[in-house]
Every structure is written in C-alpha cells, then in structure tokens.
Symmetry: D2
Subunit: 251 residues, 4 copies
C-alpha cells in the first residue's frame, strides 16, 4: 500500500521577518519557508509542502487550496486581527471535516485557535532569553516518536507560563520548565469534529527554534499524526423521518 | 458553614409556548417557569431562582444580571439566530469566569453552546414520539445523584442521535437508547475557563419532560455541580517582566 | 521510508471452538486463525501475523515472543482464571513499554484488561441473538477509517449493556444500540504507560462476527493505530542527585 | 438541607515519625494526626475525622471501618509492601463503590494507587530541599477553591519530576516547578467505578508541608470534592434474560 503524498501547507503572517532585521537575518525566507524546508527534507516523497501568507489574496487560503490541504501549520503573532473572519470560518470548517491543524507558538492567540477551543487561550509570558526544558509527559504518543531521553532543552526561549486558558487537552505531550520560574503545557492535542489539532509552544521569531533538531522531529511527527484518517464527518443535522427500527404506536 | 443561596437564572426564548397552543397548554407560564418552579421546590432556601427571556431588553441578560448569576440554564429552539452576538460574548465571558451553564435539549444548536465548544454541535433527529431510555454511564458523578436503578425512561421523546458533533466531553453521564434505533450522549459535561457546562438532551416542548421526577432530579443536581467553586480565572495575558527565580545571563 | 513489518500476535484461549460443535463449525481453526487470516490479507507485507494459545507453554507468551510483538490481540471467555498471574504481569509490562493491546469482546473480563484499567469491567449482558447497530461517535479517529455511513449493523449479536465499569476512555469510537433496549460503549481506547489499548465489543463465538467486512476493517485499523510509536517509556523511578539547574542554598 | 457529617479516615503507615527523630519532632503525633487536626478545624461539624495505621489489626481498615468511611486519605512511604493484599482488595472495592481516596505524596508508589491506575506510577525524584512552585492549571476545579494568585510556593521540598507514569488524569489541577529543573503534575484527579481519587504531590515527612495554609486548603477541598455523591455503582455483571424492548424473531 503506497499512500498519496501528504499535502501540507505552512501559513505565516510573514511580518516580523520583513520588519525586524534580526528576525530577517534568522529567517531570511520567512518562518514558513524554514518550516517547509525541514518538512520536505524529513518527509521526502511522502509529502508535498507548500506555503501561504497573510498578504496573498484570501490570505493564500482559497477554498480550492484548503480542499487540497491535509495538514495546515499556522504561524501568526502581530497580525492576528488582520485575518478575515470569512477565512477563519473556512479554516474551521476544513478542520471539522478532518484537516489537521498545527498551531505554532504565538498562534495561541490566533482567531482560528480561539474559535476552535472556545476559550481565551491567554497565558503568562516574558521575553528574557531564558532556558526552557521540555519534559516528555506522554512517551507513547506518536508526536514524541524519535525523541531520546526524558527531556530536551532550548537554551534561549520566550517564556509562556500557566495558567494557559485552554479546555482540557486530549493529551499533554510536553510540559516545559522555565528558568525564571514558570511551567507550561507546551504540546497539547485536541480533536474538533474529524480534525486533529496540535499546539506546540516553542518558536519565538528571535531565536533559531525552527533549526533545532528536536523541534524539527516533533513538527514532522505532528504532520503524520494530524493527517485526516477517519470516517466521514457529519457537520449538518440529519432528519430521517423513517426510523431504522420499528416504533410502537402509543398515546 | 452556611453558604449564600445559589443564584440561578433560567433563560428561555419563550416562543413555542406562545405560538403553539399545545405547547402553551403544557407549559402555560413558559418552560422557564416550569424549570424555575421545581428548582425552587427542590433547592428551597439554598437557591434564588429567577428567569429571563429573549424579548426582554438585552434578552434579560444585562451585565449586572449576569454578574449576579451563579448558574444559567438555557432553553432555545426556533430563535437561536435572534440572540445578539454581543449578549453571546457576554455570556461566554461569564462562563469563562466561572458561571455554570446548563444547556437544555435544542440548545445544542444555540450560539453560546457552539461558541464554547468550537464545533457544529449537529446531530440526527426525528420527531416520532418514541420511547427513550437513559442509561447511567457515570454512576459516581454528582449529576447522577439520587437516581435509582441502571436507567430511567421517557415514554415519548423527540429522538436525537449520534454522530453528535461535540468535542470529547469531560464526562458522559447518560447515554440514551431510542426505540427507532439510535443512541445519543445525553448528559455531557465540559469545562471552559473556570466554568462548568452541562448539556442535557431531554426536553422537547411538546412532551411533559420537565414534569418528570428523574429529569427534575438531574437538573437540580446540575445546579449544585455547576456552581462556581474554584480559584480566580485569568482570562487576560500577563507579562511579568521580573522573573520569580533568577535567570542566568548567557549570550 | 519503508517500515519493518508490524509484528502482530493473536492470542486465544481456544476453548469453545474445540468443545462446542457449533462454534467449531463456525471457526474451524479457532478464532485466532480467523482473525490472523483477515489481518494477513488486509495488511499484506506490512505485517507478520502469528498466534498463541492458552494451552501452549507459558500460554505461548514467552518473554522472547512478547519482546518480538508490536500488537497483541486477546480473545478469552471461559478460561480467564486459567491465565497465570506471571504471564499477566509480563503482558502488562510489555503494554506499559509500548506494545499495543486489542481486547476482543468477552476479554472485558480478562485478568489483563482489569489489571490495566483498575476496575471490575463488569457489564450487563443477554444472549438472545438480537440486532446490534454500532454508531460512529468519533469519526476522525484512525480506527474508524474506511467505514462509510453513520453506523453499521450486526444482525445477530450477544448484548452487552451499560453500565460498563471502565475508567473514562481516551476516545469512544462506537456506541452500540441493541434491539432489546440497551446501549454500550463498544469501541474504547485507553493509554497505559507507552501502550495503546483498544477494546472492541463485537465478537461472540456463536456468530460469524469475525467474517464481517466492517469488523475486519475496524480490527485492521486497530493494529495500525496501536503500534508502538512514541519515545522511551520510563517505568522505574530515577534518582538523579545532581540537579539540572542550580539550587540555591537556604536554611 | 443538612447533610450528615462527612466520615473521613486518615491512614498512615506511621513509621518515619517513630524511627527518625527529625520527623518525630516535626510530626510528634504522626502525620495522620497532623492531617486529622487541620481537617477537624476547617470542616468543623461537617466532618468526623478518624485515623488508622499499618500496625493496627487489619491495618485499622476493617470491613466495618471502610463501610463507615466516605473519604480515605493515604500516607505511605517505606512500608508499602507491608500492606496486605487482602486489605488492598478491600480498599479498591470501596473506592469502586464510591468512597473517595486522597493519595498523599509518596503514596504514588502504594499498592492501592498502582492497583487502581494500572501503571507503575514511577517518577523522577531528588531530595535536596529545593524550592517548589505549584501553578494552578485548572482554576475552576473545586479543589482549587479559596486559593489566591496564580501559584503558591513551598520553600523546601523533595522533588518529584516527570515522566510520572500514570494514565491521563481527569483533571490536572496543579503543575509544579522545581528549582533544580523539573516539572510535575502535582494535583491529579481520577475516577474509578463510582469513586473519586485525588493524588496530591507535596508532603515529604522531613518538611512541615502539612502545616502550610495552602496545603491545608487544598486537602480540605479534596475531602468535599471526593465524597460519594452519585448513583448506585454496579460492580457485578447483570444477566437479565428478559429484554426491556421486544426482540424480533429472525434466523
């Protein structure tokens, strides 16, 4: 059995890389292309990886494009409010139908993430370049595949801390320790309709997070895990007036 | 320790009872007053029960009213779209802050329920007056308190069937069997922010559901379970620049 | 990337087929071989499927055999108490380490299932050859892959009904409706340590359940879903006396 | 409505306090009496608090005693293996029937906790008197009631770190940060049968943990949360040969 290639799209608001020279140096082609590059390398013929950005017509997320996407990665930070509600509706519908969604770092505050979770997705944060240590709290989960040891570290990271205002995740795969004193549920899965969602905390634009081998391993695993794989999703009410089994007449 | 009375508000779109003579006969003062009446009887001095309806200014759900509500019951069916988005925002905020929400029957399709869950909340349905048997699937849950036996029955009910498009509930307390061949997760709990949500399936307006002793027991339990009881909810991002523990200087 | 074949072992107490002529006619080579046959057909070169039975030395589940097993299927009914505790210990340890476990039908009452879940796993049952209709309640789950429609049926089945005494499953993929009036959570997943567990209700020995196309689809999906795939499992306590980050001296 | 007093029993192996002078000084009457004392103060007439210890006949947990216990607290550390299996069976049965169980600190390695969870409950640990900061990750949970702020601290604690080998909890109410670099799910709830279980990490015998106001608040909340409150638990299989609804005759 050969499966058709997984159709992955990396979406990026693509703002910091063009406005902030430090970020531009780190991610010369944008964070979307940095992510696309390692996914192509690691998944090879198993995936077709494309990108889309906020500035494109319909933010690059046309009906056709989304219909042809199995897993969508989302990077947004400064421009969440510039994403049109109509496109958010469209992405939500595709997630419910089964498209995987991988929400990166500051995407916790995106319209699409808050729409799907129903909460504020607020958190505590500090930008101090501190150490982050991600502990594996669900070792059997496919998203932890290929990681060795009990934890991995990022030498410099923006801190995100609890309370993280999300509904109870299906699984919490990583819990972060921060040097400055906080903890965070850094790898969380959710299901909405037929769609699988993975939120992954690391990723600030001023650190080389997406060049880190462990981060790349996790985000590659996420694509394989989040791909559509179930039965048909039923998003509309059904009203079959004939019953399947007989109903006795009574008063 | 005496607790102050639980402040309960029953919200109703209050449409069918005034438009449909059969419903009007069954629920002469509206479904909201039928629910309020048995909650008052069963909770006595432990609760102050009020009502609010769609036709009142701000649908009866002013900022002040919601601030003074511990648990809100929601009955809507034909007029979901008439509920203003601003009021939905307000109810959502209060749920996140800790107000309990009990969503009744056709409220599965209300704006507030879909807002909090992030899915379509669609289902299969049939109006044929068939038998419903609710099996207790979480006997230890406070919402099942005081029920005897393995199940209870409703002789005539509208059918709701799976697939019910909701995120995985925290607990599924009842699973219904329908004479015509369907099943349904009829009692589901969710947490959003600091708020507890209970969805309870039974309740069609043309059947005397809210006069049934088991239904009354469940909905009384729900108030006690859904009341606010935790720590302070934090719905806004916090940015403490000073760290709690020292951060080593590195390059 | 070609993965090595999935190493599947079907375990059977292999009693009814040899003692009861009706069962022997239906499953001439034993239920284990019926299951092994369709898994081989459907998974092809992707799997190596073997069998083991109660009567073999160490019930066919030697240390070496289990170490070389990725997913174990379990069929037991009349001989649960004949399974040695030492072998149950061994299977439990392998599940915690990551081996998948698929528990079939009457296996709900097996030592290994109760050991892993911590509850009685008791249920309501009736043998009356009644109709069962399995509704898909988690359409996005990989175990529901390839099923069409909202449900599938078995014309004759033993009834299992709620309350099913299990901890809250990770996912409930199927909920059954029974003609005689009961419901049941018929497809349930659990995680224990690094191991994935799937309980699947259908399967009585006197009905041709394992020849049914939908049943075969589900049980094939289960193997792919339950395979080990995460990080290293840590089943022993660790006591690293050196801290990873500096600890301030205080009194 | 006045409820009868909650019948709470604090169980302790009562070893360290009598063998280790430092512990004996800290908990002169044993940890069980320290816990019993603050529960009596805080719950007043709402509770009857008793104690039981390993050295008593049947470890103080006779059939009669357990039948008259609503919530059992468990403190064990060095003598887990001295607890008789028959008593573990008995406690498990009572939990399934609805008795609440609050497992303290090193009780993670007790027979009863591992029996109910099905995993090894292993973890990482270090005794270095380091700082622990417990972050509230489920602010709406009754067990977090009355706590103020985003976290609370213990100046000196034994470290417990992830991976903590437990099944996915129902709720994770606290996540700890440790000065030396680890994180831990420090407040976890589980349901088994009709019984509610709360595991609470803090509590090493060489630190005055049980005299801390926040710890006392949490453990008082736990009693109120864990009390039996649902419907009747069904731990035995039921075989009603008559069906509730008619079954059509077919071949």
């Amino acid at each position: 059995m050969t499966s058709p290639p997984l159709r992955i799209c990396i979406w990026n608001e693509y703002h910091h890389e063009r406005e902030n020279p430090d970020v531009g140096k780190l991610y010369a082609d944008g964070i979307h292309n940095a992510v696309a590059t390692f996914l192509r390398e690691k998944l090879g013929a198993g995936a077709e990886v494309t990108t889309a950005t906020l500035g494109e017509p319909e933010h690059g997320l046309t009906v056709e494009k989304l219909a042809a996407t199995d897993v969508l990665y989302w990077w947004g930070h400064a421009k969440h409010l510039d994403v049109q509600d109509e496109i958010v509706d469209r992405v939500q519908q595709r997630v419910l139908e089964g498209m995987g969604l991988v929400v990166l770092h500051s995407g916790h505050d995106s319209k699409i993430f808050k729409r799907l979770l129903g909460t504020r997705c607020s958190l505590r944060w500090r930008e101090a370049g501190e150490r982050e240590r991600l502990w594996i709290s669900a070792p059997g989960h496919p998203i932890a595949s290929g990681l060795s040891g009990e934890y991995f570290e990022l030498p410099h990271a923006e801190m995100y801390g609890e309370y993280f205002d999300i509904p109870q995740p299906d699984d919490v795969i990583f819990i972060s320790w921060f040097e400055g004193g906080e903890v965070f549920r850094s790898g969380c899965t959710f299901t909405r309709g037929a769609g699988k969602i993975f939120y992954f905390r690391p990723g600030h634009e001023t650190y080389p997070i997406y060049y880190d081998a462990n981060i790349q391993q996790v985000l590659t695993n996420a694509a394989l895990w989040a791909k559509p794989s179930g039965a048909t999703y039923l998003g509309e009410c059904r009203n079959p007036t004939e019953s399947l089994s007989p109903i006795e007449k009574r008063d």
